[in-house]
């Protein structure tokens, strides 16, 4: 009975999550347009439906009805494969990310009977209030990383098969960027894993419920992870793969209609996934001390609402940052990743490992983070402010007429 119900509940959850994510993506586009409009002192879309709330519907219909142009010079197999890869990997990555109340896996016990009983209890709990598509996956967090890394294939295949220099440059930039930023991203997440002692995201949440959020004890890892997540999503200031001003549209220049729509879908789904990951790894998932807790449907809904609020906060942060910081130059991008974030992230992991090894209080990691930031600041002051000299031609003769 319980096992069958668990399977059905999995199907229901998959349906709800896919529907929810696709709708959310449509509305994120509207939100993005609103926020960009407000920041530019405009009003934004307000014509379709009340307050423009039906705009996503109109956009979706437009996407489907647009002419689907396939240029003659493309490599057709990979050209058609690329948007599918981009969208599918983004949607797959959500499979293990909790989006509401979760139950941590039972910890290993010496007594086999007690352990089996704990597992039975766990299965019962998961069957009723599950907020993960695939609960209890021990490599959960590695799975998300592996699949989101595959997203770069969508971009590279798209750029390569388009047979167009701008798409190619965009795709190459993207591969360099994603590979570079995955290292600090993974290292920052590793420091959380070291603390929780598990790759399972539900266990990580459970650990934070018990010991406080990771952001308070590891703010540096949080910042590194956040920056890495921005870069993984190709969001400004890291949107070099599709830099409109220099690359026309980057890797999706040659795509039209719903094939472009799938790239778009992948990008926004990625935003949702990474925002959820940041919330789960560093902000305690559904946990809000003093508010969440207890059992029953009310507590379940409250946990869901708390996690959705955190998700919304990070999505808004993505959008605010997008219209705040200009795009990095490519050398600055690489400088940030290799000369700054990777050393900091490595040092951070070592610091966390030392704290864990000697069994010190978790707050020692806060002091360690502060120390690392201080070292970085000293290093920047000594080394980073080297002025770059550039030749400028003196003005010769008079100004041209008409200026």
């Amino acid at each position: 009975m319980s096992a069958i119900w668990e399977q059905y509940s999995a199907l229901i959850v998959i349906g709800v999550v896919m529907g929810g994510v696709l709708t959310a993506v449509a509305y994120l586009v509207l939100l993005e347009r609103w926020i960009s409009a407000w920041m530019q002192d405009r009003i934004g879309p307000n014509r379709v439906g009340p307050m423009g709330l039906l705009q996503p519907l109109a956009d979706g219909i437009k996407m489907f009805l647009k002419e689907d142009i396939v240029p003659e010079h493309v490599d057709r197999v990979f050209y058609f494969l690329a948007p599918g890869v981009a969208a599918a990997t983004a949607l797959l990555a959500i499979a293990v990310v909790p989006f509401g109340a979760t139950v941590p896996l039972p910890a290993p016990l010496a007594d086999l009977a007690a352990y089996n009983q704990a597992w039975q209890l766990y299965h019962q709990q998961v069957a009723t209030d599950r907020c993960v598509i695939a609960p209890g996956i021990d490599i959960g967090f590695l799975f998300t990383f592996a699949v989101t890394s595959l997203a770069v294939y969508g971009i590279i295949l798209g750029g390569w098969s388009s047979n167009n220099k701008y798409s190619m440059i965009g795709a190459l930039r993207s591969s360099a960027q994603l590979i570079s930023y995955e290292i600090p991203l993974g290292l920052a997440a590793l420091s959380v894993v070291l603390v929780a002692g598990s790759l399972n995201l539900e266990t990580i949440v459970g650990d934070q419920v018990a010991h406080g959020w990771n952001i308070w004890t590891q703010p540096l890892a949080f910042l590194l992870f956040l920056i890495g997540a921005f870069a993984e999503c190709n969001r400004l200031p890291f949107d070099l793969p599709e830099a409109e001003q220099e690359l026309v549209g980057g890797y999706h220049t040659e795509y039209s209609s719903m094939k472009f729509g799938l790239f778009f879908l992948g990008e926004y789904t990625h935003m949702i996934t990474t925002s959820l990951m940041v919330s789960v790894l560093f902000l305690g998932g559904w946990d809000l001390p003093g508010v969440t807790g207890g059992t029953g449907w009310l507590a379940w809904g409250l946990k869901l609402a708390v996690l959705m609020a955190k998700l919304g906060f990070f999505i808004l942060l993505y959008m605010v940052i997008r219209w705040t910081i200009p795009r990095f130059r490519f050398d600055q991008l690489m400088h940030l990743a290799w000369k700054l974030m990777i050393p900091l992230a490595t040092a951070n992991v070592m610091m966390v490992a030392v704290v864990r090894e000697f069994g010190w209080s978790r707050w020692a990691m806060l002091a360690g983070s502060a120390g690392l930031v201080a070292v970085w600041a000293v290093f920047e002051v000594i080394n980073g402010n080297r002025a770059i000299n550039m030749p400028v031609r003196n003005k010769v003769g008079r100004e041209p007429v008409g200026v």
């Binding site: 407000w38 002192d41 009003i43 910042l223 705040t324 910081i325 930031v373 770059i388 550039m390 400028v392």
Partner: protein, 187 residues
């Protein structure tokens, strides 16, 4: 010609403070700016519902003015069509049915599609009969519809004076009148 070394000067990038070197303080100050704009009043004009506030000397659709008796003021002197750089004014003159002038326009057609809205006709007119109003939203379904004849141009006068006096162009009220109008007024 190669650039001589005396024409080249060297500049260096500005020195950054600690806030800029550590990225985050600079990012936060940037976010303060952008978030301030979110709550600032918007500049968008909601066009069909909200009419633009045009300056009083905006040059839009023409009108033919009427005199006090409600007759067309034009004396068919062809000054406007001569001045017109786009050759969009077509006048056919006829002997005036009234005693105070010799001629009047039997037909007076302006091709609004051809017009470049330069206002030269208005300047040329000796009796202030032709004027540009601040009506800007002129549309038509065909080229023929955009040929405004005398009746249409007179109706524009009625529209801008009686129906919505706000649209009455400032030139009729302020400033000097044309030579002939002044003479007529003083006589």
């Amino acid at each position: 010609m190669p650039i001589a070394s005396k024409d080249v000067k060297w500049v260096s990038t500005p020195k950054m403070g600690l806030g800029d070197l550590l990225y985050f303080p600079a990012v936060f100050s940037g976010m303060a700016t952008t978030l301030k704009h979110v709550i600032q009043p918007k500049v968008t004009e909601q066009y069909p519902e909200q009419e633009p506030n045009l300056p009083a000397n905006y040059r839009g659709v023409h009108r033919l003015n009427r005199d006090e008796a409600g007759r067309v003021k034009c004396v068919a002197c062809y000054m406007c069509s001569t001045a017109c750089p786009a050759h969009c004014i077509d006048i056919v003159a006829a002997p005036s049915p009234w005693t105070d002038r010799e001629k009047y326009p039997e037909t007076f057609v302006i091709d609004e599609l051809r017009c470049i809205y330069c206002g030269m006709c208005e300047e040329a007119c000796p009796v202030d009969a032709i004027e540009l109003t601040s009506l800007y939203d002129l549309t038509g379904l065909s080229r023929e519809q955009m040929l405004f004849d005398k009746e249409k141009l007179l109706s524009v006068f009625d529209m801008t004076t009686k129906e919505s006096p706000k649209k009455d162009p400032i030139r009729t009220r302020a400033g000097k009148l044309g030579v002939a109008s002044e003479a007529l007024k003083n006589s």
